[in-house]
């Protein structure tokens, strides 16, 4: 090492050959390629052996990182009959077919690899991917490969399946919608054909005309009784809840169209508007299809089962047996291994606990627990296996309660959608106009009342209105998804557009989970000395030692994870430091006093680790959690527009962030209740609050906020009560996202104006009594098509500007 240097985990800009992540702490080279961790190397080797390296040729760094996710249950679980039955579709003569939900698949390489499983293990007969549902269906010889082994195989290559049921409901567009769309297109086209003679005003034979009209009548029956049922149902639901929604004017329009047309044909006064009716449904269904197409593949609702170990090892005497969590009784002993979640409240009986509570609190640094300490459910052990005594039943544990709370907190009052507010006024206006026109014609020519009133209702049918929202918000959701923000539904876009205050929870959201910033102060250490320090640090599970042990010397480019040195004679003094002999030299790391050094003044949010070699103090590392890149700029940009707040459970905030936020907007030491209350107060002042948080304990605050966004590092993370999930690095783009949402809202408003323009033209024609079937047939598709093209173009242009 040269001069005292500042170095961070992202020293090398090398990307992992397998997963594409930047190679940082555990950077290693293997087979001439760079990898970010041992997990990726293992997968690479596995694929290499099976001759599956095409995987890397198909996509750019396609792999999924091997993460010890909370999802990963013990594979033994899959041997349990009740779990097994969730996945196995059939099993006969040793051949079994199982269906798994594999959320990790994301690209064509994934598809290729998952469909070539038989080349990794010959016991697999066939594997098939359904990308839209993120499902994998595998047929295999169960006598050669058990279900738990199959799960292990999938995990080894980084596609561990979810333990919950793949589900009976499909994620994609419902089949019925496709069928309806097909029928609608068929009827629309043919009815238009039947109406052609009318359009052209051809004086054909009367018999032919009547025949065509009756064919149209015949074709219109499925339109009303099969294609329109969803709209009728929606309208009826609105009536029952005493609410006006967009479905009601649509249903009214459909009924008016059909009865008027039937009346015309029956009385022989005209050909009816059957072509417009079919066209209307065709366009409406396209809107529905687009909506379903955009929102799929996002599953927000996850059961507790997804996160908790369902099976734990119970220890009785020397025997360890897997049991279900729900069967645990107080007083029993259980074993929790490295990276496993503590499922119930328990007392530590043997071993040292390093409990990571990030699942609950979002705080990533583990807390040390000694024998006799209580460990709450939901903490994750990091380190050697520990033995615990069960304190409470699973049903009474804090985790279960938190979960129940967040489930109930989730039912937030439905915010009135803009489209429904518009629909309410719109429906009122249409009914008034129809009534007015009816009265007017009553006094002049009673015979015209029926045709005029129905014509008004027909032409006012807000098809374009109903199309503008799914398209504008659907596009926006898709664009946001590409940048790492995944919204629950289109309503969230609308709420985001109104946000005028942003609240951050600091832990985990603004700082990266695992990356730390290390700065050395003092006499420079050379690479050799540095590695000795790291070798010693590896012997401790203290969070700071872990950071030290996993951060390589900046002068080193390529190395294995394990320093060549190993420490002997290691002694750890709790709360003080650790000392040992490394390659003949005594090394001490820890507090200033432990290393015979002077106490150094510390800034807030910073920790100092002193180092002494051969009894001589050499200096200290200053370690701080690193704020995500770009976050300070994002905060400053947001501040220009709206007030911000940082509600953190920590006692201190590091200076870079506190400068960005400004002193007045930071509150430290907040409990989950404080956060929730803080947001409630802001809302009381008329603010529309967006909360960015993580962890189960933010659930209350996230649910309280008008928009709650959960920040996650892995796809397996918990998403409590949130409206949206955000990839960690995407948080710097928050100002962008808010702008996109506001723009989407403006586009919807503009498209509403366009469709209202059409309606005004149509209604005036109808009131005047000039509404012929031909005009309706032109006006209605025209308005729908122009609104959809306007919305699509405007969103695309907007997206380009934001780039």
């Amino acid at each position: 090492m040269g001069a005292p240097g500042r170095h961070t985990a992202e020293l090398t800009k090398v990307k992992c050959y397998h997963c594409g992540d930047p190679c940082a702490e555990e950077h290693r080279t293997h087979d001439g390629q760079d990898f970010c961790c041992q997990g990726c190397v293992v997968v690479y080797d596995l694929l290499h052996e099976a001759g599956l390296t095409d995987y890397y040729a198909l996509g750019e760094r396609p792999g999924t990182k091997q993460r010890s996710s909370v999802d990963e249950q013990r594979p033994e679980l899959f041997a349990l009959q009740e779990v097994r039955s969730r996945f196995v579709e059939f099993s006969e003569g040793g051949v079994t077919r199982a269906r798994f939900n594999v959320p990790q698949m994301h690209c064509s390489s994934c598809i290729w690899l998952l469909e070539n499983l038989h080349r990794i293990d010959p016991a697999v007969v066939r594997s098939r991917v359904s990308f839209a549902d993120k499902e994998l269906s595998i047929t295999f010889h169960e006598d050669k490969l058990t279900l738990p082994d199959l799960v292990r195989l999938l995990r080894r290559i980084g596609y561990g399946p979810r333990t919950t049921n793949p589900g009976k409901t499909r994620g994609g567009v419902p089949r019925l919608l496709y069928i309806r769309l097909g029928v609608a297109g068929f009827i629309f086209g043919n009815t238009m054909l039947f109406s052609f003679p009318e359009y052209l005003g051809a004086d054909g034979e009367a018999g032919l005309k009547t025949g065509l009209q009756w064919l149209s009548v015949l074709f219109s029956i499925p339109v009303v009784f099969f294609l329109s049922t969803d709209f009728f149902r929606g309208a009826w639901a609105g009536i029952r809840n005493r609410r006006v929604n967009i479905d009601q004017p649509i249903a009214l329009g459909i009924v008016a169209l059909w009865t008027r047309s039937l009346h015309d044909v029956l009385t022989g006064t005209g050909p009816g508007y059957f072509d417009s009716l079919a066209g209307l449904l065709f366009f409406l269904l396209i809107g529905r299809w687009y909506q379903a197409h955009t929102y799929r593949a996002l599953r927000f609702d996850r059961a507790l089962d997804d996160f908790l170990p369902i099976i734990v090892l119970r220890k009785s005497g020397t025997e360890e047996t897997p049991v279900k969590v729900t069967d645990l009784k107080p007083g029993e002993r259980i074993i929790v291994r490295d990276q496993e979640l503590v499922p119930v409240d328990a007392i530590l009986r043997a071993g040292t606990g390093h409990i990571d509570n990030s699942f609950i609190t979002g705080e990533p640094l583990p807390v040390r627990k000694n024998e006799g300490d209580t460990i709450k459910a939901g903490g994750r052990q990091r380190g050697a296996a520990i033995e615990l005594e069960v304190l409470r039943n699973f049903a009474d544990s804090r985790l279960k309660q938190l979960w129940a709370e967040q489930e109930s907190a989730h039912e937030r009052p439905v915010m009135p959608r803009m489209i429904d507010a518009v629909a309410r006024r719109f429906t009122m206006a249409v009914l008034l106009i129809a009534l007015g026109a009816g009265l007017f014609w009553w006094s002049r020519d009673p015979a015209q009342v029926w045709p005029v009133v129905t014509a008004v209702l027909i032409v006012a049918c807000p098809c374009a209105l109903a199309l503008s929202m799914p398209f504008a918000y659907g596009h926006t959701i898709r664009l946001m998804g590409k940048r790492g923000l995944f919204l629950r539904d289109s309503e969230v876009v609308e709420r985001m557009a109104r946000v005028d205050m942003v609240v951050f929870d600091k832990t985990g959201t603004l700082t990266t989970r695992e990356a730390h910033e290390l700065t050395w102060h003092g006499t420079p250490l050379n690479i050799e000395e540095y590695d000795r320090v790291r070798a010693l640090a590896r012997n401790s599970t203290h969070p700071l030692s872990v950071v030290l042990a996993t951060t390589p010397h900046p002068g080193r480019r390529q190395e294995g994870n394990i320093p060549a040195w190993s420490a002997t004679d290691v002694q750890e003094q709790a709360g003080q430091g650790i000392r040992g002999t490394v390659g003949g030299r005594t090394v001490r790391i820890g507090a200033a006093a432990f290393c015979m050094a002077e106490e150094t003044p510390r800034e807030s949010g910073e920790a100092h680790v002193h180092v002494a070699i051969d009894g001589r103090p050499r200096g200290y590392f200053s370690i701080r959690k690193r704020a995500r890149s770009g976050i300070v700029e994002a905060v400053l940009r947001l501040r220009e527009r709206m007030p911000l707040a940082l509600l953190t459970g920590d006692s201190q905030v590091d200076p870079g962030l506190s400068d960005a936020f400004g002193a007045g907007s930071i509150r430290t030491g907040c409990s989950p209740m404080d956060k929730q209350r803080g947001i409630h107060e802001a809302q009381g002042r008329g603010r529309c609050v967006l909360m960015v948080g993580d962890g189960l304990n933010d659930a209350g605050a996230l649910a309280q906020a008008d928009v709650g966004i959960t920040v996650t590092e892995t796809s397996a993370a918990l998403t409590p009560a949130s409206d949206a999930i955000m990839d960690g690095p995407a948080i710097a783009g928050l100002p962008h996202f808010l702008r996109m949402a506001r723009r989407a809202r403006r586009i919807v408003i503009a498209s509403l104006c366009i469709s209202l323009g059409y309606n005004i033209i149509g209604v005036s024609l109808a009131v005047a009594g000039h509404m012929t079937p031909l005009i309706a047939a032109i006006l209605m598709p025209l308005s729908s098509i122009s609104v959809v093209s306007f919305v699509t173009a405007a969103t695309a242009i907007g997206a380009r500007e934001l780039r």
Binding site: A50, G51, D54, L58, S108, I111, W112, E115, H118, R119, P122, A123, V124, V125, V129, S130, F131, A132, D133, H141, R170, G172, V173, R175, Y178, I179, G182, V183, F186, G189, N190, F194, G204, E205, G207, L208, G211, L212, L215
Partner: protein, 53 residues
Amino acid sequence: MSVIILLLLVSTSVAGLFLLGFIHAVRRGQFDDDRSPAVRILHEDDPRQTKTP
């Protein structure tokens, strides 16, 4: 004019057959996944496939 009626009937029934075909395809699940079939067809069949059961 009866020719037109005949043609109409023939053409709608042909269109109806296509509609039935479409409905059948949807029910068989051909529209369930619009991504993987497109990708699958591009994957090379590997001649080294020796491990297949």
